[in-house]
Symmetry: C2
Subunit: 702 residues, 2 copies
Amino acid sequence: MREAMRRLTLRPHHVGSPYDKDNAEWLRDQFKSYGWDASIEEFQVLFPVPTERVLEMVSPTKFTAKLQESALAQDPTSNQKSEALPSYNAYSADGDVTAPLVYVNYGVPDDYLELERRGISVKGAIVIVRYGGSWRGIKPKVAYEHGAVGCLIYSDPKDDGYSQGDVYPKGPYRPADGVQRGSVMDMPVYPGDPLTPGVGATKDAVRLDRKDAATVMKIPVLPISYGDAQPLLAAMTGRVAPESWRGSLPITYRLGPGVARVHLKLAFDWTLKPLYDVIAKLPGSQYPDEWVVRGNHHDGWVNGAEDPISGLVPELEEARALGALVKQGWKPKRTIVYAAWDGEEPALLGSTEWVETHAAELAKKAVMYINTDGNGRGFFGVGGSHSLERFIGDVQKDIIDPETNLTVWQRAQAQAVASGDKKARGEARDRKDLRIDALGSGSDFTPFLQHAGVPTLNGGFGGEDGGGIYHSIYDSFYWYTHFSDTSFVYGRALAQTIGTAVMRMADADLLPFEFGNLAETVQGYTAELKELHTTVSSRIAETNRQIDDGIFTATNDPRDPIAAPKSEPLAPALNFAPLDNADGSLTRAASRYEKAYVTAIAAGIDPKTIAAFNELVAKADQALLDDKGLPKRPWYKHLLYAPGLYTGYGVKTMPGAREAIEQKSWAEADVEIGRVANAVQREADLVNRASDILEKKPRVQP
Amino acid sequence: MREAMRRLTLRPHHVGSPYDKDNAEWLRDQFKSYGWDASIEEFQVLFPVPTERVLEMVSPTKFTAKLQESALAQDPTSNQKSEALPSYNAYSADGDVTAPLVYVNYGVPDDYLELERRGISVKGAIVIVRYGGSWRGIKPKVAYEHGAVGCLIYSDPKDDGYSQGDVYPKGPYRPADGVQRGSVMDMPVYPGDPLTPGVGATKDAVRLDRKDAATVMKIPVLPISYGDAQPLLAAMTGRVAPESWRGSLPITYRLGPGVARVHLKLAFDWTLKPLYDVIAKLPGSQYPDEWVVRGNHHDGWVNGAEDPISGLVPELEEARALGALVKQGWKPKRTIVYAAWDGEEPALLGSTEWVETHAAELAKKAVMYINTDGNGRGFFGVGGSHSLERFIGDVQKDIIDPETNLTVWQRAQAQAVASGDKKARGEARDRKDLRIDALGSGSDFTPFLQHAGVPTLNGGFGGEDGGGIYHSIYDSFYWYTHFSDTSFVYGRALAQTIGTAVMRMADADLLPFEFGNLAETVQGYTAELKELHTTVSSRIAETNRQIDDGIFTATNDPRDPIAAPKSEPLAPALNFAPLDNADGSLTRAASRYEKAYVTAIAAGIDPKTIAAFNELVAKADQALLDDKGLPKRPWYKHLLYAPGLYTGYGVKTMPGAREAIEQKSWAEADVEIGRVANAVQREADLVNRASDILEKKPRVQP
């Protein structure tokens, strides 16, 4: 794994770079050498790269931002400037603007409410916003919605710089000129090629005009280092930023707008670039048309050792081991498909275009997609379809954690006990299964789960691997082998965990889906929605009352005035009954299924029953899709899991209903509660049909 | 008030300085000019001033701390170096030590537990600790208890420097070389002259030998600026400090011990210094032997405009106004005693020695002590004896807030609504009275309330007056008149509030004590004790369980190891029954009293009844004293209110029982619950006797 990482990170390997293609070909050849049927599938996608980047302060003093990361003598790949992408945000608009600066904290909608109460508008301004608190693409989107003409995103040293520990190369944290590159495409609307929503970006695909692509950012956006940000922030005037908005630069953080004005000029090459997805297969011996798909991307923003190669080399190791087993005579019952995706960094391009291209086939064949991305040290974290919660938990019980010699499951359980409140601790101790997370976005699982309804898992080790090199030139082989999983023992543990999951899923007779945990989880989401509704309702009522009672006026400091918020209409009651009914159906169906499943396995089952059962159960997530998709973003079809429209990577469960309540769109909330209730009812029906199959078919003679 | 402040802050006026005496004489003469009988009462106290201060880093590089605050052209009193006390901590030990640095966060006991789990000891080290999180005197005390040989206390810019806003003189916050002076005497054991505990430090008092004075610090302690602290902290090696320990200097905060070693040398002049308390009286016309006492200190660490002169000039203004009323014919029924205390800053010296000297007289005569100290802008905050909660609330209802034209009470209520949780909001809206705080320590009310049992109040305006000049040379007339209550409208409001309270208390026929709120408050403290006991018990049980289950081992990061805490014996159940019974008695007594009081007033009361009633009720806090005092600190005799032995200024209510539970001294907790129950029962008995007096005496004919 160490040598594979060294090879794959030797040169920058972003989309369109020579080494990106070189890596893809090498990966294909590695799969082939392990005995897999491997090939490269190509797409053509819109991927802008910068042709001009200028950032300068024009008043009160002149300052030209460096926009460069220094090469370090210790790190041999840090000087490859001619091949590397400079620091930029992909899918920023072209632009040339000069305007005053306004500091907007994390740049989420609530931050603008705070500014508004202080009489501060970003209309016509360039916002400066810190990384963190939301996915980066949300920041310029919300800034644009509030009238800003440009956006600078900087890394505060409080979050991943000197406040956290020694900076690179002495330690793992972000040095003064380290920059976080990254996409600012509006992926919560749809990921993948902006010009081909919903369809594969093949050579001959029908493409939108760029100006009609909804996901391309409308204003220029540039990421900068704290070295470049400090002079700008220090020059700002205006009111002092609220306590929780302050980072750890040695300055007074101020809101502006004031004397500090900057000139931001960005231009991009908007030509199409090629994508090289590597797809490798081991054919199934009994159920060749049932696919277990596993993937990790191979493209990086620069040398990308941690992100993504630390997750890709375990995948290769699994492929090598499975290949070796095949040579020893093992025949997986189902077809195993291993993918190394290109273009994850800009917009989940490789996975999305592949899923869109093969949508019909996946709907029929895919029984699971399992994803990894960068891997670190510590605890196994996993998210995905809750019908697979028990399955992936059982896998973790058979893998040894390299630092403690406990099982990976035991260590994750200990972590849940150590970090949980009383309720979470009790559950971690007494619940049969550890909870898995719901998935938002941020890696290649999104098109599988949220667009195609493939039962999905995403996992990796972390929690002991702090650093500040994310999406910078310093995410290198030198960094990873000095500060992260330096001896690749967690790389091995990841290969063991995911490889075991793939093998079990590929060889199971009855697919190992379980619905009791899903039903309980769905009930939990329902309870959360009700609580959210209560919270939002009470907050509106309380705020209105305080406005009426003059509380804001009475507590206002005339030297630091903060206006009262606006009154809002009271929240109506919502009809949760359909959802409660559907939850009940699913709970009863899951309980019946559990009994039928255990009984059937004990008794033995005939092949036709198995085939009918598996065909049905693999559609467990498809039953939760709605072809109309989510409000304002039809590409996202899963009614249980989606990234937040205003949080980005962060998950929203029951997203249609939850976001309608958050946005106080009460009529929409009632509609969406009904839609998710229908989805849960469809799931209950599917689970009951699965029980029908298990209960009614005659037993095979032993 | 502006001119009085200018006069009083013209030169440094600390204990023993020429201008301290000059101010005292001027104050006496002012009182006299208003028609008061005024004089100076003198004491002789141990007050050390530095003769040598050296702080230098000896490795890894040489650095000599400046230990000086720069004069500023804008601030005319900032250059009086020859008269001013340099930056130091009073009652530090002499010392000459060279040792490695260890960073201990706020230096409270829990911080040492965190260090211990990381294998770090301060034995033989010099600790560097930041201001905040506890009273400063706790920091070297706890450091000494853990084996440190020296202590540096610095002001982090996160707390009152550039993170908060512009630094002085551009803004009100602490500049890089501003230093917070202050006492580190162990005042939670006893305040006042260390050599004369419990008795007045008169010329001929019997004095302890200094080495036997329990409250003098045992190791050298020095406060430093963040300008001087930064090179030391930046040079430290060792593990990175936990997230919540980090300030906002542009460095990685580390724990040490490591390469950074410092040399700290301090020597003091330990001679006795004179104290000049100014005592002014207006004789009572009807009840001359009932005293309403009001005070504010006059000494400052340097020029002391905010602390204490901003509270003293309203007191003078009250005295002027009361004097004018007397000239117009008003005769207060009770004697009014106005005091300007000396030596508050080092150790509440002036008030404590005066109270100790006049203890017997105060026990007989004092019906109330009302204290102020520095005053700012914003909301009226008040604490004290809960039997005076309604009284002081009613006063606030008749004073106009200068910024909002609401009453001071309404504005405080609005603040309670705005900042409270749901329960606190409901109470602020619906409870008849606003709650007042319980008093810990930090100003001259302590000897009155906690040693002598005089019913006490302490109040002032604040909440809109941030700054970073506390106890530095920059607490000046220039600072105060540019950044705080610049037009003295809150000075006027304070004079109106306290002056009104004094007049009402002086002229009331029946003393306006009310016990329903006290009873309810005492029940609240009892509930808190029970909850604290439950919390501590569960935490011990949970931690032991996690130790037994190997949770700490399982979640340990081998590259950043944190040892498990030690197992502790489980907490036994405690006997709260005596306290519940006493609380019930007090509640019933208060309810009976309320009825008797209203009935008596409506009916009219004869002078003998009034005299008997008042004599009894003025002892309401004396009933709550226990002559044996609190565990380990017999000087503190009040069983409801005390400063915390390990928090300093912060109050501990029902301190004996509360601290025993916190310290897990279970046998002591049971004893202390019994003692406070007895005190509450004595209070109930007193309140019942007061009702007896009101109910049984014959009515006066109208």
